[in-house]
Protein backbone atom coordinates (compact mmCIF):
# COMPACT_ATOMS: atom_id res chain seq x y z
CA UNK A 1 0.00 0.00 0.00
CA UNK A 2 2.70 2.46 1.06
CA UNK A 3 4.85 1.70 -1.97
CA UNK A 4 1.93 2.18 -4.36
CA UNK A 5 0.94 5.43 -2.68
CA UNK A 6 4.57 6.63 -2.59
CA UNK A 7 5.00 5.86 -6.28
CA UNK A 8 1.86 7.83 -7.15
CA UNK A 9 2.95 10.70 -4.93
CA UNK A 10 6.29 10.94 -6.73
CA UNK A 11 4.48 11.69 -9.99
CA UNK A 12 2.30 14.48 -8.61
CA UNK A 13 4.91 16.98 -9.70
CA UNK A 14 6.39 15.27 -12.72
CA UNK A 15 8.79 18.03 -13.70
CA UNK A 16 10.33 18.29 -10.25
CA UNK A 17 10.67 14.53 -9.85
CA UNK A 18 12.13 14.04 -13.33
CA UNK A 19 14.75 16.72 -12.67
CA UNK A 20 15.94 15.03 -9.48
CA UNK A 21 15.79 11.56 -11.08
CA UNK A 22 17.86 12.79 -14.02
CA UNK A 23 20.34 14.42 -11.63
CA UNK A 24 20.66 11.08 -9.81
CA UNK A 25 20.95 9.21 -13.12
CA UNK A 26 23.72 11.34 -14.57
CA UNK A 27 25.51 11.73 -11.23
CA UNK A 28 25.61 8.00 -10.57
CA UNK A 29 26.29 7.06 -14.19
CA UNK A 30 29.19 9.49 -14.37
CA UNK A 31 30.48 8.36 -10.99
CA UNK A 32 30.32 4.66 -11.86
CA UNK A 33 31.99 5.21 -15.23
CA UNK A 34 34.74 7.39 -13.77
CA UNK A 35 35.35 4.82 -11.05
CA UNK A 36 35.43 2.08 -13.69
CA UNK A 37 38.05 3.99 -15.67
CA UNK A 38 40.22 4.62 -12.61
CA UNK A 39 39.97 1.05 -11.38
CA UNK A 40 40.58 -0.21 -14.92
CA UNK A 41 43.63 2.02 -15.25
CA UNK A 42 45.08 0.77 -12.02
CA UNK A 43 44.13 -2.88 -12.53
CA UNK A 44 45.70 -2.73 -16.00
CA UNK A 45 48.85 -1.26 -14.50
CA UNK A 46 49.01 -3.96 -11.82
CA UNK A 47 48.27 -6.73 -14.31
CA UNK A 48 50.95 -5.31 -16.61
CA UNK A 49 53.48 -5.33 -13.76
CA UNK A 50 52.51 -8.90 -12.86
CA UNK A 51 52.71 -10.07 -16.46
CA UNK A 52 55.89 -8.16 -17.18
CA UNK A 53 58.02 -9.21 -14.27
CA UNK A 54 56.41 -9.75 -10.91
CA UNK A 55 54.25 -12.84 -11.43
CA UNK A 56 51.97 -13.71 -8.50
CA UNK A 57 54.56 -15.03 -6.06
CA UNK A 58 58.35 -14.97 -6.01
CA UNK A 59 60.84 -17.03 -4.02
CA UNK A 60 64.37 -15.79 -3.27
CA UNK A 61 67.32 -16.35 -1.01
CA UNK A 62 66.48 -14.34 2.13
CA UNK A 63 69.15 -11.72 1.41
CA UNK A 64 68.94 -11.56 -2.34
CA UNK A 65 66.33 -8.79 -2.61
CA UNK A 66 68.52 -6.50 -0.49
CA UNK A 67 72.03 -7.30 -1.71
CA UNK A 68 71.51 -8.89 -5.13
CA UNK A 69 74.74 -10.89 -5.09
CA UNK A 70 75.24 -13.70 -7.58
CA UNK A 71 76.20 -15.97 -4.70
CA UNK A 72 72.83 -15.49 -2.94
CA UNK A 73 71.10 -18.21 -4.91
CA UNK A 74 68.42 -20.73 -3.94
CA UNK A 75 70.00 -24.01 -2.95
CA UNK A 76 68.37 -27.46 -3.23
CA UNK A 77 66.37 -26.26 -6.18
CA UNK A 78 65.22 -29.79 -7.05
CA UNK A 79 63.55 -30.27 -3.66
CA UNK A 80 61.84 -26.91 -3.97
CA UNK A 81 60.61 -27.71 -7.48
CA UNK A 82 59.04 -30.92 -6.13
CA UNK A 83 57.20 -28.89 -3.48
CA UNK A 84 55.96 -26.46 -6.12
CA UNK A 85 54.86 -29.27 -8.43
CA UNK A 86 52.86 -30.89 -5.64
CA UNK A 87 50.96 -27.70 -4.81
CA UNK A 88 47.54 -27.85 -6.56
CA UNK A 89 47.11 -24.08 -6.64
CA UNK A 90 50.31 -23.43 -8.60
CA UNK A 91 49.64 -23.25 -12.31
CA UNK A 92 53.21 -22.65 -13.57
CA UNK A 93 56.56 -21.45 -12.37
CA UNK A 94 59.79 -20.29 -13.92
CA UNK A 95 63.27 -20.34 -12.43
CA UNK A 96 65.45 -17.32 -13.13
CA UNK A 97 69.04 -16.32 -12.63
CA UNK A 98 69.40 -12.62 -12.05
CA UNK A 99 72.65 -10.78 -12.49
CA UNK A 100 73.39 -7.12 -12.01
CA UNK A 101 75.67 -5.96 -14.83
CA UNK A 102 76.28 -3.50 -17.60
CA UNK A 103 75.52 -3.63 -21.31
CA UNK A 104 78.07 -2.13 -23.67
CA UNK A 105 77.72 -1.26 -27.31
CA UNK A 106 80.18 0.56 -29.53
CA UNK A 107 78.39 3.79 -28.82
CA UNK A 108 77.26 3.64 -25.18
CA UNK A 109 76.93 1.74 -21.92
CA UNK A 110 74.02 1.12 -19.57
CA UNK A 111 73.43 -0.63 -16.26
CA UNK A 112 71.10 -3.61 -16.67
CA UNK A 113 69.48 -6.43 -14.80
CA UNK A 114 70.21 -9.65 -16.67
CA UNK A 115 67.54 -12.33 -16.51
CA UNK A 116 68.77 -15.77 -17.52
CA UNK A 117 65.64 -17.81 -18.23
CA UNK A 118 64.25 -20.93 -19.76
CA UNK A 119 62.35 -19.25 -22.65
CA UNK A 120 59.63 -21.87 -22.79
CA UNK A 121 58.90 -21.83 -19.05
CA UNK A 122 59.08 -18.05 -18.89
CA UNK A 123 56.41 -17.84 -21.57
CA UNK A 124 53.98 -19.38 -19.09
CA UNK A 125 54.73 -16.78 -16.45
CA UNK A 126 55.34 -13.43 -18.09
CA UNK A 127 54.25 -11.76 -21.30
CA UNK A 128 57.65 -10.68 -22.61
CA UNK A 129 57.28 -13.04 -25.57
CA UNK A 130 54.16 -11.09 -26.58
CA UNK A 131 55.91 -7.76 -26.31
CA UNK A 132 58.57 -8.48 -28.94
CA UNK A 133 58.17 -5.80 -31.61
CA UNK A 134 61.24 -6.65 -33.69
CA UNK A 135 62.93 -10.01 -34.25
CA UNK A 136 61.86 -13.12 -32.39
CA UNK A 137 61.60 -14.46 -28.86
CA UNK A 138 64.83 -16.51 -28.98
CA UNK A 139 65.84 -19.25 -31.43
CA UNK A 140 68.01 -22.35 -31.11
CA UNK A 141 71.28 -20.50 -31.56
CA UNK A 142 73.59 -19.64 -28.72
CA UNK A 143 74.33 -16.29 -27.06
CA UNK A 144 71.13 -14.54 -28.01
CA UNK A 145 69.82 -11.57 -26.09
CA UNK A 146 66.41 -9.93 -25.87
CA UNK A 147 66.57 -6.21 -25.10
CA UNK A 148 64.03 -3.45 -24.57
CA UNK A 149 63.33 -0.80 -27.19
CA UNK A 150 64.50 1.99 -24.91
CA UNK A 151 67.83 0.27 -24.28
CA UNK A 152 68.22 -0.42 -28.00
CA UNK A 153 67.75 3.27 -28.69
CA UNK A 154 70.15 4.29 -25.95
CA UNK A 155 72.91 1.86 -27.05
CA UNK A 156 72.03 2.38 -30.72
CA UNK A 157 71.47 -1.33 -31.21
CA UNK A 158 69.49 -3.06 -33.93
CA UNK A 159 68.56 -6.66 -34.59
CA UNK A 160 71.67 -8.86 -34.89
CA UNK A 161 73.83 -6.12 -33.37
CA UNK A 162 76.37 -7.32 -30.85
CA UNK A 163 76.22 -6.21 -27.27
CA UNK A 164 78.64 -7.09 -24.49
CA UNK A 165 77.31 -7.96 -21.04
CA UNK A 166 79.65 -7.61 -18.09
CA UNK A 167 78.79 -9.02 -14.69
CA UNK A 168 80.39 -10.52 -11.63
CA UNK A 169 81.04 -14.27 -11.75
CA UNK A 170 80.66 -16.75 -8.91
CA UNK A 171 84.32 -16.25 -8.04
CA UNK A 172 83.91 -12.44 -7.91
CA UNK A 173 85.82 -11.99 -11.16
CA UNK A 174 84.34 -9.82 -13.87
CA UNK A 175 82.94 -11.74 -16.82
CA UNK A 176 82.29 -10.13 -20.20
CA UNK A 177 80.51 -11.94 -22.98
CA UNK A 178 79.13 -10.82 -26.33
CA UNK A 179 75.51 -11.53 -27.28
CA UNK A 180 73.63 -10.97 -30.49
CA UNK A 181 70.34 -9.09 -30.36
CA UNK A 182 67.64 -11.60 -31.37
CA UNK A 183 64.62 -9.54 -30.41
CA UNK A 184 63.57 -6.11 -29.18
CA UNK A 185 60.62 -5.84 -26.81
CA UNK A 186 58.47 -2.96 -25.78
CA UNK A 187 56.41 -3.15 -22.58
CA UNK A 188 54.17 -0.59 -20.86
CA UNK A 189 57.16 0.60 -18.79
CA UNK A 190 59.98 2.61 -20.31
CA UNK A 191 62.11 2.05 -17.23
CA UNK A 192 61.74 -1.72 -17.54
CA UNK A 193 62.61 -1.57 -21.24
CA UNK A 194 65.75 0.42 -20.49
CA UNK A 195 67.11 -1.67 -17.64
CA UNK A 196 66.23 -5.31 -18.25
CA UNK A 197 67.63 -7.85 -20.69
CA UNK A 198 66.91 -11.56 -21.17
CA UNK A 199 69.34 -14.34 -22.04
CA UNK A 200 69.01 -18.13 -21.96
CA UNK A 201 69.95 -20.39 -19.05
CA UNK A 202 72.08 -22.57 -21.33
CA UNK A 203 74.27 -19.64 -22.32
CA UNK A 204 74.78 -18.56 -18.71
CA UNK A 205 75.73 -22.11 -17.80
CA UNK A 206 78.31 -22.16 -20.60
CA UNK A 207 79.72 -18.85 -19.41
CA UNK A 208 79.91 -19.77 -15.72
CA UNK A 209 80.98 -23.34 -16.39
CA UNK A 210 79.07 -24.59 -13.34
CA UNK A 211 75.45 -25.30 -12.46
CA UNK A 212 73.59 -22.09 -12.94
CA UNK A 213 72.64 -20.26 -9.74
CA UNK A 214 68.85 -19.80 -9.42
CA UNK A 215 68.05 -16.49 -7.74
CA UNK A 216 64.35 -16.28 -8.32
CA UNK A 217 61.39 -18.59 -8.79
CA UNK A 218 58.41 -16.76 -10.32
CA UNK A 219 55.07 -18.44 -9.74
CA UNK A 220 51.59 -18.07 -11.21
CA UNK A 221 48.63 -19.55 -9.36
CA UNK A 222 45.45 -20.72 -11.03
CA UNK A 223 43.32 -17.85 -9.66
CA UNK A 224 44.21 -14.46 -8.19
CA UNK A 225 42.00 -15.36 -5.21
CA UNK A 226 44.52 -18.07 -4.33
CA UNK A 227 47.58 -15.81 -4.19
CA UNK A 228 47.41 -15.08 -0.46
CA UNK A 229 46.59 -18.69 0.48
CA UNK A 230 49.37 -20.11 -1.67
CA UNK A 231 51.87 -17.55 -0.37
CA UNK A 232 50.97 -18.55 3.19
CA UNK A 233 51.41 -22.27 2.41
CA UNK A 234 54.76 -21.75 0.70
CA UNK A 235 55.99 -19.52 3.50
CA UNK A 236 55.39 -22.32 5.98
CA UNK A 237 56.93 -24.97 3.71
CA UNK A 238 59.98 -22.93 2.67
CA UNK A 239 60.74 -21.11 5.89
CA UNK A 240 64.44 -20.71 5.10
CA UNK A 241 63.65 -18.75 1.93
CA UNK A 242 61.92 -15.48 1.19
CA UNK A 243 58.41 -16.12 -0.22
CA UNK A 244 56.55 -12.95 -1.24
CA UNK A 245 53.34 -12.22 -3.08
CA UNK A 246 53.22 -9.40 -5.62
CA UNK A 247 51.72 -7.17 -2.93
CA UNK A 248 54.86 -7.57 -0.85
CA UNK A 249 57.16 -7.34 -3.86
CA UNK A 250 55.56 -4.10 -5.06
CA UNK A 251 54.01 -2.57 -1.92
CA UNK A 252 53.60 0.77 -3.69
CA UNK A 253 51.21 -0.86 -6.17
CA UNK A 254 49.28 -2.65 -3.45
CA UNK A 255 49.07 0.41 -1.22
CA UNK A 256 47.95 2.69 -4.04
CA UNK A 257 45.34 0.12 -4.99
CA UNK A 258 43.95 0.19 -1.44
CA UNK A 259 43.90 3.98 -1.37
CA UNK A 260 42.29 4.08 -4.81
CA UNK A 261 39.20 2.21 -3.57
CA UNK A 262 38.96 4.53 -0.59
CA UNK A 263 39.28 7.60 -2.85
CA UNK A 264 36.67 6.28 -5.27
CA UNK A 265 34.22 5.64 -2.44
CA UNK A 266 34.82 9.20 -1.23
CA UNK A 267 34.24 10.42 -4.80
CA UNK A 268 30.90 8.61 -4.97
CA UNK A 269 30.11 9.91 -1.49
CA UNK A 270 30.61 13.50 -2.71
CA UNK A 271 28.24 12.93 -5.64
CA UNK A 272 25.63 11.46 -3.33
CA UNK A 273 26.19 14.24 -0.79
CA UNK A 274 25.29 16.76 -3.49
CA UNK A 275 22.25 14.68 -4.46
CA UNK A 276 21.25 14.50 -0.81
CA UNK A 277 20.54 18.23 -0.74
CA UNK A 278 18.51 18.04 -3.94
CA UNK A 279 16.40 15.15 -2.71
CA UNK A 280 15.99 16.59 0.76
CA UNK A 281 14.83 19.88 -0.74
CA UNK A 282 12.41 18.11 -3.09
CA UNK A 283 11.00 16.03 -0.25
CA UNK A 284 10.69 19.06 2.02
CA UNK A 285 8.78 20.97 -0.69
CA UNK A 286 6.62 17.93 -1.27
CA UNK A 287 5.79 17.70 2.45
CA UNK A 288 4.98 21.41 2.69
CA UNK A 289 2.61 21.06 -0.25
CA UNK A 290 0.80 18.18 1.44
CA UNK A 291 0.47 19.41 5.01
CA UNK A 292 -3.34 19.35 4.84
CA UNK A 293 -3.32 15.91 3.29
CA UNK A 294 -1.00 14.56 5.97
CA UNK A 295 -3.29 16.11 8.58
CA UNK A 296 -6.21 14.23 7.04
CA UNK A 297 -4.24 10.98 6.92
CA UNK A 298 -3.33 11.27 10.61
CA UNK A 299 -6.93 12.24 11.44
CA UNK A 300 -8.51 9.27 9.69
CA UNK A 301 -6.12 6.85 11.36
CA UNK A 302 -2.79 6.56 9.57
CA UNK A 303 -0.15 5.86 12.18
CA UNK A 304 2.80 8.22 12.26
CA UNK A 305 5.30 5.42 11.66
CA UNK A 306 3.50 4.64 8.39
CA UNK A 307 3.58 8.29 7.40
CA UNK A 308 7.29 8.37 8.24
CA UNK A 309 7.86 5.26 6.11
CA UNK A 310 5.81 6.73 3.27
CA UNK A 311 8.14 9.71 3.02
CA UNK A 312 11.26 7.53 3.28
CA UNK A 313 9.91 5.29 0.51
CA UNK A 314 9.22 8.33 -1.68
CA UNK A 315 12.81 9.47 -1.15
CA UNK A 316 14.12 5.97 -1.90
CA UNK A 317 12.07 5.83 -5.10
CA UNK A 318 13.38 9.24 -6.17
CA UNK A 319 17.04 8.38 -5.71
CA UNK A 320 16.87 4.76 -6.76
CA UNK A 321 14.86 5.48 -9.95
CA UNK A 322 17.77 7.57 -11.19
CA UNK A 323 20.47 5.84 -9.18
CA UNK A 324 19.78 2.27 -10.21
CA UNK A 325 19.30 3.13 -13.88
CA UNK A 326 22.47 5.24 -13.65
CA UNK A 327 24.33 2.31 -12.07
CA UNK A 328 23.03 -0.08 -14.72
CA UNK A 329 23.98 2.33 -17.50
CA UNK A 330 27.40 2.81 -15.91
CA UNK A 331 27.83 -0.96 -15.72
CA UNK A 332 26.82 -1.40 -19.37
CA UNK A 333 29.10 1.44 -20.50
CA UNK A 334 32.00 -0.15 -18.60
CA UNK A 335 31.21 -3.54 -20.15
CA UNK A 336 31.11 -2.00 -23.61
CA UNK A 337 34.34 -0.07 -23.18
CA UNK A 338 36.12 -3.00 -21.59
CA UNK A 339 35.68 -5.11 -24.71
CA UNK A 340 37.79 -2.91 -26.95
CA UNK A 341 39.46 -0.77 -24.33
CA UNK A 342 39.96 2.98 -24.36
CA UNK A 343 42.85 3.93 -26.60
CA UNK A 344 44.96 6.59 -24.92
CA UNK A 345 47.95 6.16 -27.17
CA UNK A 346 48.25 9.92 -27.63
CA UNK A 347 49.40 9.97 -23.99
CA UNK A 348 51.52 6.82 -24.39
CA UNK A 349 54.86 8.51 -23.68
CA UNK A 350 53.73 9.94 -20.36
CA UNK A 351 51.85 6.83 -19.30
CA UNK A 352 54.77 4.52 -20.14
CA UNK A 353 56.93 6.52 -17.73
CA UNK A 354 54.60 5.28 -14.96
CA UNK A 355 54.40 1.75 -16.33
CA UNK A 356 50.81 2.30 -17.45
CA UNK A 357 49.29 0.77 -20.55
CA UNK A 358 48.06 3.11 -23.27
CA UNK A 359 44.96 0.95 -23.66
CA UNK A 360 42.63 1.15 -20.67
CA UNK A 361 40.13 -1.56 -19.90
CA UNK A 362 37.55 -0.08 -17.51
CA UNK A 363 36.31 -2.41 -14.82
CA UNK A 364 34.55 -2.08 -11.50
CA UNK A 365 34.54 -4.86 -8.91
CA UNK A 366 31.20 -6.10 -7.61
CA UNK A 367 31.88 -4.87 -4.08
CA UNK A 368 32.02 -1.30 -5.41
CA UNK A 369 28.44 -1.72 -6.66
CA UNK A 370 27.45 -3.05 -3.23
CA UNK A 371 29.02 -0.08 -1.44
CA UNK A 372 27.34 2.28 -3.93
CA UNK A 373 23.97 0.63 -3.22
CA UNK A 374 24.49 1.05 0.53
CA UNK A 375 25.54 4.69 0.08
CA UNK A 376 22.42 5.40 -2.00
CA UNK A 377 20.26 3.75 0.65
CA UNK A 378 21.83 5.82 3.42
CA UNK A 379 21.58 9.02 1.34
CA UNK A 380 17.88 8.45 0.66
CA UNK A 381 17.12 7.85 4.30
CA UNK A 382 19.14 10.87 5.50
CA UNK A 383 17.50 13.06 2.84
CA UNK A 384 14.03 12.07 3.99
CA UNK A 385 14.50 12.19 7.76
CA UNK A 386 13.96 15.93 8.18
CA UNK A 387 10.85 16.07 5.91
CA UNK A 388 9.49 12.91 7.55
CA UNK A 389 9.93 14.35 11.04
CA UNK A 390 8.21 17.53 9.88
CA UNK A 391 5.27 15.43 8.65
CA UNK A 392 4.82 13.30 11.75
CA UNK A 393 5.01 16.32 14.06
CA UNK A 394 1.97 17.85 12.38
CA UNK A 395 -1.06 18.38 14.58
CA UNK A 396 -4.01 17.10 12.53
CA UNK A 397 -6.46 19.77 13.70
CA UNK A 398 -4.09 22.54 12.54
CA UNK A 399 -2.81 20.73 9.46
CA UNK A 400 -6.32 20.12 8.09
CA UNK A 401 -7.01 23.85 8.17
CA UNK A 402 -3.81 24.71 6.30
CA UNK A 403 -4.40 26.16 2.86
CA UNK A 404 -1.48 26.58 0.48
Amino acid sequence: MLIKLAWKNIWRNKKRSIIIILAAFFGIWGGVLTNGIFVGMWETTIEAAISRELSHIQIHHVKFRDERLITQFISEINTIEKILQSNPYIQNYSVRSILEGIALSPSSVNGVKIFAIDPNKEKLITSIHQKVIEGVYFSNKGYEILIGQKLAQKLKLKLNSKVVLSFQGMDNNLISTAFRVIGIFKTESKIFDETNVFIKHNDLQSILGTNIPIHEIAIRVSSTDLIDTTTKILKSELNNLSVQSWKELAPELSLTSGFLYLELNIFMGIILFALLFGISNTMMMSVFERIREFGVLIAIGMKKIKLFLLIIIESLILLFSGGLTGTLSGFLTIELLSRKGIDLSIFEEGMAAYGMSAILYPTLPFNMYISLFIMMLVTSIIASISPAIKAIRLKPAEAIRTYL
Binding site: V296, A299, I300, M302
Partner: protein, 228 residues
Protein backbone atom coordinates in the same frame (compact mmCIF):
# COMPACT_ATOMS: atom_id res chain seq x y z
CA UNK B 1 -24.05 4.34 28.32
CA UNK B 2 -24.18 7.32 25.93
CA UNK B 3 -22.11 7.21 22.77
CA UNK B 4 -20.49 10.56 23.53
CA UNK B 5 -20.39 12.26 26.90
CA UNK B 6 -18.70 15.62 27.34
CA UNK B 7 -18.12 16.77 30.89
CA UNK B 8 -17.01 20.30 31.89
CA UNK B 9 -14.97 20.72 28.72
CA UNK B 10 -12.78 23.78 28.37
CA UNK B 11 -10.33 24.73 25.68
CA UNK B 12 -8.05 27.71 25.98
CA UNK B 13 -5.71 28.57 23.13
CA UNK B 14 -2.60 30.42 24.19
CA UNK B 15 -1.96 32.07 20.86
CA UNK B 16 0.53 34.96 20.87
CA UNK B 17 0.35 35.04 24.67
CA UNK B 18 -3.25 36.25 24.58
CA UNK B 19 -5.40 33.37 25.82
CA UNK B 20 -8.50 32.59 23.76
CA UNK B 21 -11.20 30.71 25.63
CA UNK B 22 -12.63 28.71 22.73
CA UNK B 23 -14.86 26.36 24.74
CA UNK B 24 -16.29 27.17 28.14
CA UNK B 25 -17.52 24.47 30.45
CA UNK B 26 -19.32 22.37 27.84
CA UNK B 27 -21.50 19.52 29.07
CA UNK B 28 -23.16 17.42 26.43
CA UNK B 29 -24.42 13.91 25.77
CA UNK B 30 -25.01 12.38 22.34
CA UNK B 31 -26.67 8.99 22.00
CA UNK B 32 -26.08 6.37 19.34
CA UNK B 33 -28.08 6.93 16.17
CA UNK B 34 -28.48 10.68 16.59
CA UNK B 35 -28.42 13.08 13.64
CA UNK B 36 -27.19 16.26 15.26
CA UNK B 37 -25.88 19.64 14.19
CA UNK B 38 -23.63 21.95 16.16
CA UNK B 39 -24.34 25.42 14.89
CA UNK B 40 -23.25 28.91 15.62
CA UNK B 41 -21.51 31.90 14.10
CA UNK B 42 -17.88 31.84 13.04
CA UNK B 43 -15.60 31.71 16.09
CA UNK B 44 -18.31 30.25 18.30
CA UNK B 45 -16.28 27.06 18.86
CA UNK B 46 -18.10 24.60 16.56
CA UNK B 47 -14.97 23.21 14.91
CA UNK B 48 -13.04 23.22 18.18
CA UNK B 49 -15.79 21.13 19.79
CA UNK B 50 -15.82 18.78 16.82
CA UNK B 51 -12.02 18.44 17.05
CA UNK B 52 -12.32 17.59 20.75
CA UNK B 53 -14.94 14.93 20.04
CA UNK B 54 -12.79 13.57 17.22
CA UNK B 55 -9.64 13.43 19.33
CA UNK B 56 -7.88 15.79 16.95
CA UNK B 57 -7.20 18.27 19.71
CA UNK B 58 -6.93 17.91 23.46
CA UNK B 59 -8.99 19.82 26.01
CA UNK B 60 -7.42 22.22 28.48
CA UNK B 61 -9.58 20.54 31.09
CA UNK B 62 -12.70 18.41 31.22
CA UNK B 63 -13.44 15.05 29.67
CA UNK B 64 -14.61 13.61 26.37
CA UNK B 65 -15.90 10.08 26.84
CA UNK B 66 -16.56 7.93 23.78
CA UNK B 67 -18.36 4.71 24.69
CA UNK B 68 -17.20 5.41 28.22
CA UNK B 69 -13.53 5.85 27.30
CA UNK B 70 -11.89 9.16 28.20
CA UNK B 71 -10.07 9.94 24.96
CA UNK B 72 -8.10 12.83 26.41
CA UNK B 73 -6.17 10.23 28.44
CA UNK B 74 -5.25 8.12 25.41
CA UNK B 75 -1.64 8.42 24.11
CA UNK B 76 -1.07 9.98 20.71
CA UNK B 77 -0.42 6.78 18.71
CA UNK B 78 -3.21 4.88 20.43
CA UNK B 79 -5.55 7.79 19.78
CA UNK B 80 -4.83 7.49 16.05
CA UNK B 81 -5.79 3.84 16.27
CA UNK B 82 -8.88 4.76 18.28
CA UNK B 83 -9.96 7.24 15.59
CA UNK B 84 -9.36 4.63 12.90
CA UNK B 85 -11.69 2.18 14.62
CA UNK B 86 -14.34 4.53 16.01
CA UNK B 87 -14.61 7.81 14.14
CA UNK B 88 -15.38 8.74 10.56
CA UNK B 89 -14.47 12.19 9.26
CA UNK B 90 -15.99 14.31 6.52
CA UNK B 91 -14.24 17.62 5.89
CA UNK B 92 -15.35 20.88 4.34
CA UNK B 93 -12.80 20.63 1.51
CA UNK B 94 -13.43 16.92 0.85
CA UNK B 95 -9.73 16.16 1.43
CA UNK B 96 -9.55 13.06 -0.69
CA UNK B 97 -6.10 11.78 -1.61
CA UNK B 98 -5.69 13.29 -5.08
CA UNK B 99 -3.50 10.53 -6.55
CA UNK B 100 -5.95 7.77 -5.66
CA UNK B 101 -9.17 6.86 -7.45
CA UNK B 102 -12.57 7.01 -5.75
CA UNK B 103 -12.33 3.28 -5.07
CA UNK B 104 -8.80 3.54 -3.69
CA UNK B 105 -9.75 6.48 -1.47
CA UNK B 106 -12.54 4.45 0.10
CA UNK B 107 -10.37 1.34 0.33
CA UNK B 108 -7.49 3.21 1.92
CA UNK B 109 -8.98 3.43 5.39
CA UNK B 110 -9.81 -0.28 5.31
CA UNK B 111 -6.22 -1.01 4.29
CA UNK B 112 -5.13 0.87 7.41
CA UNK B 113 -7.50 -1.33 9.41
CA UNK B 114 -6.10 -4.49 7.86
CA UNK B 115 -9.38 -5.57 6.23
CA UNK B 116 -8.91 -8.43 3.75
CA UNK B 117 -8.78 -7.63 0.05
CA UNK B 118 -12.01 -9.40 -0.85
CA UNK B 119 -13.89 -7.73 2.00
CA UNK B 120 -12.42 -4.34 1.06
CA UNK B 121 -13.49 -4.64 -2.53
CA UNK B 122 -16.98 -5.82 -1.60
CA UNK B 123 -17.50 -3.04 0.91
CA UNK B 124 -16.02 -0.36 -1.39
CA UNK B 125 -18.32 -1.23 -4.28
CA UNK B 126 -21.35 -1.37 -1.96
CA UNK B 127 -20.55 2.01 -0.44
CA UNK B 128 -19.84 3.75 -3.74
CA UNK B 129 -23.09 2.35 -5.10
CA UNK B 130 -24.88 3.55 -1.96
CA UNK B 131 -23.63 7.12 -2.50
CA UNK B 132 -24.56 6.94 -6.18
CA UNK B 133 -21.03 6.72 -7.58
CA UNK B 134 -20.99 3.12 -8.78
CA UNK B 135 -19.96 4.32 -12.22
CA UNK B 136 -17.14 6.54 -10.94
CA UNK B 137 -15.07 4.05 -9.01
CA UNK B 138 -11.97 4.57 -11.16
CA UNK B 139 -12.24 8.35 -11.32
CA UNK B 140 -9.63 10.50 -9.66
CA UNK B 141 -10.89 13.33 -7.39
CA UNK B 142 -10.10 15.99 -10.00
CA UNK B 143 -12.41 14.16 -12.41
CA UNK B 144 -15.32 14.44 -9.98
CA UNK B 145 -17.54 17.40 -9.11
CA UNK B 146 -17.47 18.83 -5.58
CA UNK B 147 -20.66 16.99 -4.68
CA UNK B 148 -19.30 13.72 -6.01
CA UNK B 149 -16.04 14.19 -4.12
CA UNK B 150 -17.91 14.82 -0.91
CA UNK B 151 -19.96 11.67 -1.47
CA UNK B 152 -16.73 9.71 -1.85
CA UNK B 153 -15.59 11.33 1.41
CA UNK B 154 -18.79 10.10 3.09
CA UNK B 155 -18.21 6.61 1.73
CA UNK B 156 -14.64 6.76 3.06
CA UNK B 157 -15.86 7.97 6.46
CA UNK B 158 -18.25 5.06 6.95
CA UNK B 159 -16.10 2.39 5.27
CA UNK B 160 -14.29 1.69 8.51
CA UNK B 161 -17.59 0.99 10.32
CA UNK B 162 -17.07 3.83 12.80
CA UNK B 163 -19.22 4.46 15.89
CA UNK B 164 -20.07 7.91 14.53
CA UNK B 165 -19.23 10.38 11.77
CA UNK B 166 -18.03 13.93 12.34
CA UNK B 167 -18.78 16.24 9.45
CA UNK B 168 -17.24 19.71 9.55
CA UNK B 169 -19.13 22.05 7.23
CA UNK B 170 -19.71 19.24 4.72
CA UNK B 171 -21.96 21.31 2.47
CA UNK B 172 -20.01 24.56 2.58
CA UNK B 173 -18.33 24.05 -0.78
CA UNK B 174 -21.32 22.50 -2.54
CA UNK B 175 -24.12 23.93 -4.59
CA UNK B 176 -27.67 23.47 -3.30
CA UNK B 177 -28.49 20.41 -5.38
CA UNK B 178 -25.28 18.62 -4.44
CA UNK B 179 -25.74 19.58 -0.80
CA UNK B 180 -29.30 18.21 -0.73
CA UNK B 181 -28.17 15.03 -2.47
CA UNK B 182 -25.39 14.56 0.06
CA UNK B 183 -27.71 15.14 2.99
CA UNK B 184 -30.17 12.63 1.53
CA UNK B 185 -27.43 10.01 1.55
CA UNK B 186 -26.37 10.81 5.10
CA UNK B 187 -29.94 10.81 6.33
CA UNK B 188 -30.55 7.46 4.69
CA UNK B 189 -27.43 6.01 6.30
CA UNK B 190 -28.63 7.36 9.62
CA UNK B 191 -32.08 5.92 9.24
CA UNK B 192 -31.19 2.58 7.68
CA UNK B 193 -27.95 1.78 9.49
CA UNK B 194 -28.40 3.84 12.62
CA UNK B 195 -25.17 5.64 11.85
CA UNK B 196 -24.61 8.64 14.15
CA UNK B 197 -23.79 11.90 12.36
CA UNK B 198 -22.54 15.06 14.08
CA UNK B 199 -22.31 18.13 11.92
CA UNK B 200 -20.58 21.43 12.57
CA UNK B 201 -22.39 23.80 10.25
CA UNK B 202 -24.18 27.05 9.71
CA UNK B 203 -25.92 25.80 6.57
CA UNK B 204 -29.69 25.97 6.92
CA UNK B 205 -30.10 23.01 4.60
CA UNK B 206 -28.32 20.87 7.18
CA UNK B 207 -30.03 22.48 10.14
CA UNK B 208 -33.45 21.76 8.61
CA UNK B 209 -32.66 18.05 8.18
CA UNK B 210 -31.20 17.19 11.60
CA UNK B 211 -33.24 16.10 14.61
CA UNK B 212 -31.18 17.97 17.17
CA UNK B 213 -29.55 21.40 16.97
CA UNK B 214 -26.92 22.45 19.52
CA UNK B 215 -26.17 26.15 19.27
CA UNK B 216 -22.85 27.51 20.45
CA UNK B 217 -22.08 31.12 21.17
CA UNK B 218 -18.76 32.40 22.46
CA UNK B 219 -17.70 28.87 23.34
CA UNK B 220 -20.81 28.10 25.39
CA UNK B 221 -23.88 26.05 24.62
CA UNK B 222 -26.61 28.59 24.07
CA UNK B 223 -29.35 26.10 23.26
CA UNK B 224 -29.85 22.39 22.68
CA UNK B 225 -33.08 21.77 20.77
CA UNK B 226 -34.66 18.58 19.43
CA UNK B 227 -36.79 19.15 16.33
CA UNK B 228 -39.15 17.04 14.29
Amino acid sequence: MPLIEIISLNKIYDKTKVPVHALKDINLTIEKGEFVAIVGPSGSGKTTLLNMIGGLDSPTNGKVLINGINISKIKSDELIDFRLKNIGFVFQSFNLIPVLTAKENVEFIMLLQGVTKSEREKRTIELLNAVGLGDKIDSRPYELSGGQQQRVAVARAIASHPSFVLADEPTANLDSTSAEGLLDIMKELNQKLGMTFIFATHDNKVIRRVRRVITLEDGKIKSDVFQN
